[in-house]
Structures are given as C-alpha cells and as structure tokens.
C-alpha cells in the first residue's frame, strides 16, 4: 500500500519534470478536454436531470406536514444538489466513463508498446500522455458540475410542477431562499479534487498495466473502483474540513 503510494507520487513527479513544449501540451490538453468534457455532457445531463427530479418528488413525498411550506422542497433540492449530488454523483459517473477510458486507453498503449515507442523517441511519456489528461479533467469536471447543478435544479422544477406536488412559484421561491454563495465554491473545490483523483488514479492504473487484454480490463475496473472509493473518502474529508 505504502509502496504503491510512493510509486504514485513518483509517477506524478515524473509527469511534471521534463515536460513537452507548451504548444504540444496545449494541443494534447484540448484533445483530451473534448473527450473528457464534451463527450460526457449527455450522460451528465441525463443523470443530473433525473436525480434532481427524483430528489424533488421524494422530498415532497416525505414532507406531508401542512405547517412546512412547499418552498422548503425547492430549498432542499437546491442545497442537496449544490452541496452533494451535483459534484459527487457527477464525479462518480465520470469515474465510470472517463476513468475507465483513461485506464483502458493507457493500458492498451502500454501492452502494445506504444508507450515504449514514445520513450524510445526521447519523449517523456507521462508528460505527453498523462499530464494533458489530468489538466483536461481539472478544467472539465467543474464545468460539468455546473451543468449538472443547473439541470438537476431544472429537473426538480419540472418534476415538481408537472406531477403537481408543488407550484412553480413555491419551487422558485424555495431555490432562492437563504442562498449561500460559498456552497458553490465548495462544490467547485470538490469537483477539482475529484477530477484530480479520478484522472490521476485512472492514469496510474492504466500506465502501469502489464500483461495482455485481460489485464487492461482489470486495470479499467480497478481504476473505476479505486476512483469511486477515493471520491467518497475525499468527499467526507472535504465536508469535515471546509464546512
């Protein structure tokens, strides 16, 4: 465990020493940003909209006391979405989609000697292959989380009004009540930390794949599992430290 952690630290250090030129790094980062960010918008949108909708309906189902105003439902949807559901669930979804893609891609490159080909050319393979992925994830995760926040709150609105559990006016009043801007900052800090964990762990698992196709599959699975565990641990740590 300690040895693996040490190797991970050396892996990260190798990534930032002898980096390729800024032009190469920029081009590679933009390519990865397209794969990590743009290609994930659909799944993130679907998941976040439905989570917002279900959250709204379930809160309404539980809040049956006539003394509690309907706007509380909107307030709770907003708080849950911003503080927890949008950053954490989005990151878990991305751990599945992006993490497996990073680990699988790097693992395949490793076993087919493409990584060795880069090294023989004198190119720092971690800097060329891993650093752009991590930077792209750091840029894209917060943007996707912002999209997820908006769509989740919108999903809650549509579910609440279309099913008739609450009025449009009450929901809007709820999501505007006692808004704390720091919560958005907190959510974005979480997104950045989760982005680093998902991309770093997945790249590490993929980069050190040995063997054949079976091991590439195992590396992808390991990357997703470890990323999700790391997200949940970091989620707790950040909540304890920053709230």
């Amino acid at each position: 465990m300690l040895k693996t952690f040490g190797t991970f630290i050396l892996f990260l250090r190798g990534m930032v020493t002898r980096t390729e030129s800024f032009r190469v790094l920029w081009n590679r980062t933009m390519e990865e940003a397209m794969l990590i960010g743009v290609d994930s918008i659909v799944i993130v949108s679907i998941v976040s909209a439905f989570i917002g909708a279900v959250t709204c309906v379930q809160i309404a189902y539980n809040l049956t006391n006539p003394l509690i105003p309907q706007s509380t439902i909107g307030y709770m949807v907003r708080e849950m979405t911003i503080l927890e559901l949008a950053p954490t669930i989005t990151s878990i979804v991305l751990a599945g989609k992006v993490g497996s893609s990073i680990a699988g891609g790097l693992g395949t490159m490793r076993i087919t000697e493409q990584v060795s080909a880069l090294e023989v050319m004198g190119i720092n393979s971690t800097s060329y292959l891993v650093l752009p992925r991590i930077i792209a994830a750091l840029l894209m995760f917060p943007l996707l989380v912002i999209v997820a926040m908006m769509l989740s709150i919108l999903g809650g609105y549509l579910a609440g009004t279309l099913t008739g559990v609450m009025t449009s006016q009450a929901y809007i009043e709820g999501i505007r009540t006692d808004f704390i801007p720091y919560n958005i900052v907190f959510a974005l800090i979480k997104a950045v930390v989760f982005a680093f964990l998902v991309s770093g762990i997945s790249a590490f698992k993929g980069y050190y794949t040995t063997g054949g196709a079976l091991e590439v599959g195992a590396a992808s699975t390991g990357a997703v599992t470890n990323s999700i565990i790391a997200i949940l641990l970091a989620d707790f740590a950040l909540a304890a430290l920053l709230l």
Binding site: R18, S116, A117, E119, V120, M121, G122
Partner: protein
C-alpha cells in the same frame, strides 16, 4: 558504433543477462540471435534505455549512455529509431500521422511543408506511398512493419533497433522486410541491431551475428562463419530446423554448397 560492456540484468533474483559484452558495428546489420527466453529482447531494451541494467555500461559512438545525465540520454534517444515486435503504431493516428509524429515532436524547426515532404519520402522509401491516409487497423502486418520502419527513419536516426521484425509474417514478406532493413542500413550508414530467432534472416542479412544462450554470449561472427561454428548450443539452434539440416547434408555431399547458399542469401546481392 555501440559498445556493450559486461551487462547483467536480473528479475526477482533470476539472472537473465550474465555479463554480456559485444560491439555493434556501424553500417552493418547486427543480429542478436538466440532461442526464446535467452535474453535477446531484454538486452535490446537495456541498450535503448527501456530497462536499466544492474551492472555494465553501454556506449553510443563514445558517449556513455547508462547512468549518464538525462540530457545526454535524451540526446542519444533522439538518434534512435526502433521497430517494435508488434509495430507499436499509434492507433488513433493515420499512417502518415504516425510517420510525421517523431518529426513534430523532435524537430520543431521543420515547417509543416518540410514535414509533409519528409513523410512522403519515407513512405515512398518503404513502398507505402498510397497508404498515408489509412489507419493502422486497416493495413496488414507486413505494412505495419513498413510503417514502423518509416517512422523510425523519419527523423534521420543514427541507430536502428528492430525487435523480431519478422514475427507473424509469411516467409516472402519476411524477406522483403529483411531486405528493406538491409537497404536502409547501407543507404544511410546506420548502426542496425536486429533481434531475431529466424535463420532466414541470418542467411539474408546477418553481417554480424551475436548468439545468446541462457543469458550469455556464446559466439559472434558472420553468416558465412555461423554454419561452420563449433559451439554445440549454436549448432543445436541452427540445425533444429529440418530445412537447414537438409541444406547441411547437401553441403557435406557437395563439399561447400552451404557457403554458396549463405552467399546467395545476401540481401544486398538481390538489390
């Protein structure tokens, strides 16, 4: 010229290379010959820097490569071209982009037009001038090897390393690849090191052969000398093929026909 001095390498206590010393000469096809598991590929990976030897040193034209500073290693690596066993082409790039890649990374001073010209030249040199837009998944194994060679020579390498260039190829394609490597070695006067266990390659292009057995260098010489070598392990290796055994029998019956067989195999003679 590459000089390998007393290289040793172990994995989990198992010695794979046991004090290998040899010289790979410039302008020649140097073959690392031996059976499976004798340490040929490990030695090659130690030479190109993909593995670090436990003991010993490797010198490229007088510059020590092992344990030298990163800048020196980088400088030498940029003179190295390598053809991998599985070709190691980048899946996400076309054939032309694969060949252009080292130029983009290693020679930023080249203009896009100069790079395109160099790519076209290299692809033409390996006979793939019409395959530039194809993806690696769309071409045959032999073509992949050719693209690998084109990518290796694109930045005008000084040292060319080939890890089993004939693996998975039919005999006719293998000979074409051997001939291509031979031609390129002599055309650009580069130091070529080829890992192989294929006797056809030995007969075709073996200008300098180093025989490894159980991690040790047991013999080195030319293709003309190898057939008369007296090292038992080498003779067992060479004559494990019924074809070579039959050729040897004819040699003994015709008194020297085997040497003529080796001379006929000279790839340079057929060009």
């Amino acid at each position: 010229m590459i000089e390998v001095s007393n290289i040793e390498k172990s994995f989990d206590g198992t010695a794979v290379l046991k004090g290998i010393s040899c010289v790979f000469e410039t302008g020649k096809c140097n073959l690392l010959l031996g059976g499976s598991g004798t340490g040929k590929s490990v030695l090659l990976q130690c030479i190109v820097g993909l593995m670090k030897p436990d003991i010993g040193s490797i010198t490229f034209d007088g510059t020590i490569y092992t344990n030298s500073k990163v800048d020196i290693r980088q400088e030498i690596r940029r003179k190295i071209g390598m053809l991998f066993q599985g070709s190691a082409l980048f899946d996400s790039m076309t054939v032309a982009e694969n060949v252009e890649f080292p130029l983009q990374m290693l020679t930023p001073e080249m203009t896009p037009e100069e790079r395109r010209e160099r790519v076209a030249f290299c692809l033409k040199r390996v006979g793939l001038e019409n395959a530039g837009n194809k993806m690696p998944a769309e071409i045959s194994g032999g073509m992949k090897k050719r693209v690998g060679i084109a990518r290796a020579i694109a930045p005008q390498c000084t040292y060319l390393f080939c890890d089993e260039p004939n693996s998975g190829l039919d005999p006719a394609t293998s000979i074409k690849i051997d001939q291509l490597i031979y031609e390129i070695t002599h055309e650009y006067d580069i130091t070529t090191v080829i890992v192989t266990h294929d006797m056809n390659s030995v007969i075709e292009i073996g200008e300098h052969i180093i025989f490894l057995h159980q991690g040790k260098k047991l013999w080195d010489g030319t293709k003309e000398e190898i057939l008369n070598a007296t090292v038992p392990e080498l003779r067992d290796f060479i004559f494990s093929s019924s074809l070579v055994r039959a050729a040897k029998r004819i040699d003994e019956e015709t008194e020297g026909g085997m040497a003529a067989f080796a001379e006929e195999g000279d790839a340079g003679a057929g060009i």
